[in-house]
């Protein structure tokens, strides 16, 4: 169907934002050529909710040949925050402490309740946009404020920077920060893993640098391509990844060079590791991930909520299989899609989430729900 561009829309915007449909079509053709003759399906895993958002938002899967299966791995920090961690935050809120956390976290159910439930019963829960807002809250109120710190290395760096700057004595941190590389390692090590290559998250790589992924690529014979978040960033990264798979080149390629360097932001890394240390821990619905958690170092005990408050025993009885039929776990390691879940869209909706993947705007289920999943639209007239 022929529809002329609307007057008043600036055609340059699309180009400036790496959203040129003509270039995208060229990339899609190149991907088709590169994938020709490769095994089908070819599973390429990304590990970032923002990648899934962009892929779904722009309908990029519709441009790829049917043999290429871009799947989402453990890329939603809210989703993998463990039940006992939520329970700890709920317990603190119920004891009268002000709990500040990122908005998506508020509705995530713990073993029996969410922070939102605690709030409805009178607890003081504050959704914040940044850790600095939580510190401001402590300064302004003078009350005990716990920042329930969730997210990957990207937000962990912000937490670290704030602590290094100095915080008021009524402020502490309940760390549920996670570190992505060990989870990629875990997915790659699964004995029946079908993943042929990784798209690494560009914004995390801004901090860690792309060299970080070299041992993973070598150890598991898996190419890794660092990708940005605009449609052309993603398509160009998929093309490079397919070429690397085709050429059996198990290396790391940086396709986001306007932001990512080999060594990353070394100042941020210094701050991160000055405050945090890798710890083993459970990722909700996935597994025990060696080195997957970021715990506060002992010298930060004074601002560690787990040290300041008695949380012994909280969340210990939490049953991991919290939602019965919910298959968040398999979805988060790329073994299932939301469409494989009996609850998706019926019993489980953003209004009535049964699992964390439907709560968070970074979760695969929430994103698929928002953009209609991955239907076969081949019958739509062009």
């Amino acid at each position: 169907m022929k529809i002329p561009p609307t007057p008043g829309r600036n055609p340059d915007t699309a180009a400036l934002r790496f959203r040129d449909p003509a270039l995208a079509a060229d990339l899609a053709r190149a991907i088709r050529r590169a994938a020709d003759g490769l095994p089908s399906p070819l599973a390429l895993m990304h590990v970032c909710g923002s990648h899934e958002q962009a892929i779904a938002r722009y309908g990029l899967r519709d441009m790829l040949p049917p043999s290429i299966d871009v799947i989402m791995g453990p890329g939603c920090p809210v989703c993998i925050t463990d039940l006992p961690e939520v329970d700890e935050a709920v317990a603190l809120a119920e004891r009268g402490v002000r709990v500040a956390t990122y908005g998506d976290m508020v509705r995530v159910p713990g073993a029996t309740k969410s922070l939102a439930d605690a709030q409805a019963a009178g607890a003081r829960v504050h959704p914040v946009y940044s850790v600095t807002q939580a510190v401001d809250l402590a300064r302004e109120t003078g009350d005990e404020v716990v920042f329930f710190a969730t997210g990957f290395e990207t937000t962990a760096v912000a937490t670290a920077a704030v602590l290094l700057e100095g915080v008021p004595s009524n402020f502490s941190v309940l760390s549920a920060h996670k570190y992505v590389p060990p989870a990629m390692e875990l997915v790659a090590s699964l004995p029946d893993s079908a993943v042929a290559g990784f798209l690494a998250a560009g914004h995390a790589a801004v901090i860690t640098g792309w060299r970080l992924f070299e041992p993973l690529a070598r150890r598991h014979s898996l190419p890794v391509v660092v990708a940005g978040f605009e449609p052309l960033d993603i398509l160009a990264a998929v093309l490079r990844l397919v070429e690397l798979v085709r050429d059996r080149a198990y290396e790391v390629v940086n396709m986001y060079p306007r932001c990512v360097s080999p060594e990353g932001n070394e100042n941020a890394q210094r701050q991160l590791w000055e405050v945090f240390t890798p710890a083993d821990g459970r990722w909700r619905g996935i597994a025990w991930v060696p080195g997957g958690n970021l715990a506060l170092r002992p010298q930060w005990a004074a601002v560690d909520a787990r040290n300041r408050y008695d949380l012994a025993g909280v969340g210990e009885d939490a049953v991991q299989d919290d939602a019965g039929e919910c298959i968040c776990g398999p979805i988060m390691i790329g073994r299932a899609t939301p469409h494989d879940c009996r609850l998706f869209g019926g019993t489980c909706t953003p209004d009535h989430p049964m699992g964390a993947c439907m709560v968070s705007s970074e979760g695969a289920c929430r994103i698929w729900h928002q953009y209609g999943g991955r239907p076969d639209l081949s019958g739509v007239p062009q």
Binding site: I3, G8, S361
Partner: protein
């Protein structure tokens, strides 16, 4: 409640026979999801599936069925219509308005209350309403100067629309018993030709009368005190003059109209597609969108397709009349940014598909209250 989704939408339980629909998501299953909650929640007013359940479960019981000479509640169109003996239709519609803040960039609750009802009438073909009624419920302690400004704004908007407020009612409730100000308006008028929201057939073109998402994004920025672009302004305006121009130019070729208020263009098109049993393919690059709305929506993660418009219409037109209607729209002050944005197709009945310029994806029906992304 006149803007909800039909109880008889064919997409709900039908298994579409067209090719390639097998992979469509299960979320559109009518019976899926929890039954009506025990208490009314905010989402029941948000214009989505929850609201449809509330209407069907409570309000539309025992509704007088629609006939050839009567359009009633069961049709869930923009209003009710009675066929007169002279062949004309008498259309009645009512709308209750609450908005926070009461005064917002580009308008206020008074302008909204007049435009909302004038527009609901216009969407059914009534472009010269006989009159409007106005009922107000005011909270004790509400400032009289704000009330005066709101009413001045109602009068000005009514003059703009060429309609008079012919009767009214005022109630005051105790402090805390309601929140600020609630305004109800009811409107009525005659039309020789009733335009429904279910008239689409494959091949028809979809026109929007201007930029989308302006009202919703302006309200969101004001309500959540997001420090966004100061140019975000509501588009709230009475559309009866614009619709008169459309009907003059297009005549019988104008087959469906809807004002994409709550739930935005996404909800309006779902309703139109569902009621007509057609699919709708939207072309994203054709959608008129102000740069500031586009920027704000990316920042807060809210789709401009899903937020309210209060001064726009989406119109289904037979293909041969589309250019003529478009020219008439663009000649009008309120339609300068009008654009053909898509087509009705026989495939995927009840679904709205977006061609992003990269690939195609479904547009889903918005559900629940839209909140800015925080994380």
């Amino acid at each position: 409640m006149s803007r909800d989704v039909p109880p008889d939408a064919p997409r709900q339980t039908a298994s579409p026979a067209s090719p390639g629909t097998s992979g469509l998501p299960p979320r559109v299953s009518r019976d899926a999801g929890p039954l009506l909650d025990e208490r009314v929640l905010l989402k029941h007013g948000a214009g989505g599936r929850a609201m449809r359940r509330l209407i069907e479960g409570v309000f539309a019981r025992e509704a007088r069925p629609s006939t050839d000479t009567f359009v009633g509640l069961d049709a869930l169109d923009d209003g009710a219509a009675f066929r007169m003996e002279d062949g004309r239709w008498l259309v009645v519609t009512t709308d209750t308005h609450v908005v926070h803040p009461v005064e917002f960039p580009g308008g206020d609750i008074g302008r909204l209350a007049i435009a909302g009802t004038v527009n609901d009438l216009a969407m059914m073909g009534v472009t010269a309403p006989l009159g409007l009624t106005c009922g107000m419920v005011v909270e004790e302690g509400f400032p009289v100067d704000v009330l005066t400004r709101v009413h001045d704004s109602m009068l000005a908007t009514a003059r703009e629309a060429g309609v008079a407020i012919v009767t009214g009612d005022t109630k005051v409730m105790g402090h805390g018993e309601i929140d600020g100000l609630v305004v109800n308006t009811t409107g009525l008028g005659f039309t020789a030709r009733l335009v429904r929201d279910r008239g689409l057939r494959p091949g028809d073109r979809i026109i929007v009368t201007g930029t989308i998402g302006d009202h919703g994004m302006a309200i969101m920025a004001a309500r959540h005190k997001l420090a966004l672009d100061g140019r975000l302004r509501s588009d709230v305006a009475p559309l009866n003059g614009l619709v008169a121009a459309v009907l003059d130019a297009g005549g019988d070729a104008v087959v469906a109209m809807k004002d994409p208020t709550r739930g935005g263009l996404a909800s309006a098109l779902h309703e139109m597609a569902g009621k007509a049993g057609v699919g709708v393919v939207l072309v994203e690059r054709a959608l008129p969108l102000r740069p500031e709305v586009s920027a704000a929506s990316e920042l807060v993660g809210i789709d401009p397709l899903a937020v309210a418009n209060e001064g726009k219409a989406v119109i289904g037109v037979r293909p041969e009349a589309a250019e003529r209607v478009l020219a008439a729209l663009r000649a009008h002050d309120l339609g300068r940014d009008a654009a053909i944005v898509g087509d009705a197709v026989s495939e995927y009945p009840g679904y709205v598909i977006l061609d992003t310029g990269f690939g195609r994806r479904l547009v889903t029906e918005p559900e629940g209250e839209l909140l800015p992304r925080i994380c």
